[in-house]
Symmetry: D2
Subunit: 360 residues, 4 copies
């Protein structure tokens, strides 16, 4: 199921970095939901490169077209095909990389897997593939907000050595996140992150970081034991985003250091349902949402393509030096914020629909 994600609410993405276009086909969206290009474009714009000096300079307008599945602004319940044209191809930029696989990039592994690969850019491993995910995720978000009031907010929680402090997961908003170009809602930390990225860019180097995402108003009962537990599908979804190296939910790795008596989240009465006093569980127990905010973090490595000279070997094993030409993102984490939100929305919309099948 390589390019398809989901069981009932399902998305199939297509497209390479430098072919005619990229996009997605969304199946399972309930009929009647209000959908138009205007619901999708804002998240694509947030994902788009060239939003600031911090990111790659390519200007790709990335306008989405709905090809099918929607009429008069309403989903028909049939597959929604979404298409975005590719532009701005400069294959020349990638010429030297044809014979030299970029260290820590997908050049070598694609060649080994397929025996052939796209002649320029990252082909299917390019961040451009995520356009289809974000377009599909915007539809999932619309559905979840309309039917359940669910909202997704992700932000940059760390860039390299700088971690954000004091962000209230219960109240942080997307507009607060977008106030800084690094998408960190803690202003002083954002300034420091911005500075670090500029420094790396000047050094033709790159930086990694961490994104935190909160999903609010998710009803209790979503998540499919045993292999499609909420955290399992979120983990798959996040680790399928290019450049990710880690995922944790709730207390995560640091929770392994607590005793059970401290880690357990005591139940409390919260209106007409049960809530928990703490949220080390990250909103999930036994793979199923418990009604508390779902909170997780995703680790992004520094981008592999850098302008600095690197000692490596070519495909034949001959020692050589590689300096990547072209324009490359020194830090993808700010642009990855809408991708994380979109993948979370795809997971939860699928689980919401699956849960409907039990409600007799």
């Amino acid at each position: 199921m390589s390019s398809t994600f989901g069981t009932v609410f399902r998305v199939t993405t297509f497209g390479e970095s430098h072919g005619k276009g990229v996009g997605a086909v969304v199946e399972g969206c309930p009929p009647g939901i209000a959908i138009s290009e205007k619901d999708i474009q804002p998240q694509l714009d947030r994902r788009r490169p060239g939003q600031s000096l911090l990111t790659t300079d390519r200007d790709e307008s990335d306008r989405v077209t709905i090809l099918s599945g929607v009429e008069n602004g309403r989903a028909l319940g049939t597959p929604i095909a979404l298409s975005v044209a590719n532009r701005d191809q400069k294959p020349g930029d990638y010429a030297s990389m044809q014979s030299i696989p970029r260290p820590s990039h997908a050049d070598y592994t694609y060649q080994m897997k397929y025996g052939i690969r796209a002649s320029s850019g990252g082909g299917r491993s390019s961040a451009r593939e995520t356009i289809g995910r974000v377009a599909a995720g915007a539809i999932a978000e619309k559905f979840l907000y309309e039917q359940y009031g669910i909202e997704f907010v992700a932000w940059v929680n760390a860039v390299s050595m700088t971690s954000a402090s004091e962000i209230d997961e219960n109240s942080v908003t997307r507009s607060a996140v977008d106030e800084s170009i690094v998408r960190c809602p803690s202003k002083s930390d954002a300034a420091q992150m911005e500075k670090a990225i500029k420094t790396a860019k000047e050094a033709k180097d790159s930086l990694g970081g961490i994104i935190t995402c909160v999903c609010r108003n998710v009803p209790a009962g979503l998540g499919e034991p045993v292999f499609d537990k909420m955290e399992a599908r979120l983990a798959q979804a996040m680790m399928s985003i290019p450049a990710t190296k880690g995922f944790e939910i709730g207390s995560g790795f640091s929770g392994t250091r607590l005793n059970g008596s401290k880690h357990n989240d005591p139940f409390i009465k919260r209106g007409d349902r049960l809530g928990t006093l703490t949220n080390n569980s990250g909103g999930v127990q036994g793979g199923i949402s418990n009604g508390e905010p779902i909170i997780f973090r995703v680790a992004f490595k520094p981008p592999a393509t850098i302008g600095q000279a690197q000692n490596t070997v070519d495909f034949d094993g001959n020692q050589t030096t590689l300096e990547a030409k072209g324009r490359h993102d020194p830090c993808v984490v700010p642009r990855a914020v809408p991708i994380v939100e979109s993948m979370a929305a795809l997971v939860i919309s699928d689980m919401a629909l699956q849960q409907k099948t039990r409600q007799y």
Copy 2:
């Protein structure tokens, strides 16, 4: 696909903690592979509770029976059904927990999801469900070893505050891992972990920990872009194991703090293929194995069921105190070692078979 995992090599598990039995159906195992109960039982024995004072005292012999799919010691290519009987049911132990959902356990969420739940124990959320995974994983391991020489070794890398040091991922063996009852191949660290678990047990408390797993001799080219990337499926697999809260591969979360120029793994010539000088990638680039060892870590929270009194509320929201009766594992991490290995084997066998479909 809640109880089914995999696309070509697929396992469907069944069974609750206290019904008649648990097990799995394995589809897609190539015909002709030598399989018998003897290939499966050792990993089930490593998973079994009651192996030492450190773990729960229940004696479950957990003998596996192959019901179908194998004849004269060879896989027929048809579904292999694996069954393990349940024993030792003491529903009385769980009586008080019927009206009080255990904090950070699945009692509340199962009730919210299904509107009904098993009357005792964790039902489908029980660690007993993992028997089917381990039995199926043993078959996957057999196949991968016979056909590719792939081997899986996992070990306990941390228990609570104690982390293991100096373990060579290229040479560590299962027998070295099993030398200590905590399954940490670093002897001095193992002793300290053991002590910590005993202390927690006496305090009717519980401890979490971290497991590291290495998959050696995985050929380059395995992993399915884009949603079934190697790390994405491993993440799903690991986060579907009960009590897991985090997953990281290669440099993981700490890699986010490195610059790209330091993080990138330069290629080198390694015999007739390319290798990498470092392995921050954890054996995976662009979602596809690169021929280096695949290395990942999994975070386990402290078990939720503890004997200490906990302030919480019952299902109706009334304040109460819960003291879990019965015998409960103070630290599941040592027993989870074969589960991690098994899930890794299930992921990689599925990917190996999928890769065959491209080899014309």
Copy 3:
């Protein structure tokens, strides 16, 4: 998805003719449905060989055991594992067939596919595999009757040259069907069919036939465009039953000879919904149920294993003569009646659950 059928209500069957057992794992059954072995056994008994002199003489009691997923008579929403032990193995009966592939049987193709095959009987191609389907189908039937009042009645409509006449699809019942051992509710035709089967048995020959099935009270709106249309999934389901060679719905092949003006089913008002005056559509339009009875027919070839001497070649291509030993069914059609009903119930339960995901 070879041994798994369905998307939401899914069944995975396992087991060969002569291993330790056969069975199925049912996923997706809504929680709370009342289920016990007593709901399942009657259909297994109808499927069982040895019900009369007309069928094979093997006495297999075929008692089903529910291993998981049910507690106190209610489905938990977790996988329901169903197991039936094998007995009465007489491998000796099949000795001569080891080197000679039976004409029109699966011996040759299994060997070509898998490079190995079960040493006796039909292995996975045996009718015994259908036990898992019937057990699972009984659960699907229970669910559909409880929630929708849907009922399934199939009967033998033809044996060899004899076709049944005058059966009212709107009122025919299972007890009427079971009044004759050939399961044809038209008594005079049944007598003639019975006679034909006896004659064939004496001649060590075999007969084919046709089963008709009606599904009543299926609500309008079930069926998933475009590849999982109601008739498409029914066709797959029926053509997956051993020995089937054809499927038709509504007017079927004979409808190709009518003009559209005659074939179209005019709509009429039927209470608070629309109905149709005729039912050439067979209850399905555009792949979706229209609320009228779903009616289809399935063609079964004469069984391949016969006692008569057949000129054929062995696996090495040497000319030889084959006379099947053992006891073989001269006509499987009466026993296939519950299998057809079960597969129909599996299709429609899956579609009913999928339709739930649109109902916001």
Copy 4:
């Protein structure tokens, strides 16, 4: 999996009759296969309406564009997205049909299923949806011919009362089929079919028919027991084509009247493999291809949309008369020939790839 077909070689179609476009995403095509629009267009042209006076007059050029997955004329192994723009929308033609569901059409059932439907034409139930299948099928055919030499030839075997005679399944070619506009390679029968269609057109009526398809050079061993048997998947594939009412393979329904001793296909030595003297099996035994030609037939009902006045009721149940405006096909069977071939190619390519996973 409503709009997705296949397990390894998989196609997802999208598009309504009158939206911006239709198309498909093809996953699993092995890398390196030579693919260009020129390989796809011929089958789309054969499917296109307006090829002669016998079919609907709409001129749709239906030019396919490959959006992704192919570079320099070679498949990359990544998803191949195929797009065809819609044109020639005349929604006015369908105005009267908005309040009156066409008898035996999908108007009523789509409304009941989705609570909403496309405002004109058949929406997703339109024959236009099959463009994606034909485009995808052309790729499957290319792959199967290159790697296995498999070829698919379908033809019109009956139109209404006229059946074709004397067509040699072993030698009939597509060019012979295309010699007549009704696509029947028996010339005298073709003339009579043509005449019948013209008569029906003048009477504003419609005709059904039967297509036969042969798949030659399919190697033994393809087909996935038990639910994805070759004939089961072919049946699903064919019955998912709009307007189909029946499917039979080999001896089909008429084979039910033969005794086993006559029906069985004796094995013979055929070069270095076994063949069969007769082919009542239709090339499939136990759900697996046996190396003989796979032969099946598909029944198409007369199109539901006719110009004649029909007595029926509107959506509110009020008695009314409907005369369909616009241009409608009096007989879709000739145009359905490439659709049948395409669906067969999709089934067999998927099975060929699945079989690769066993070949160690």
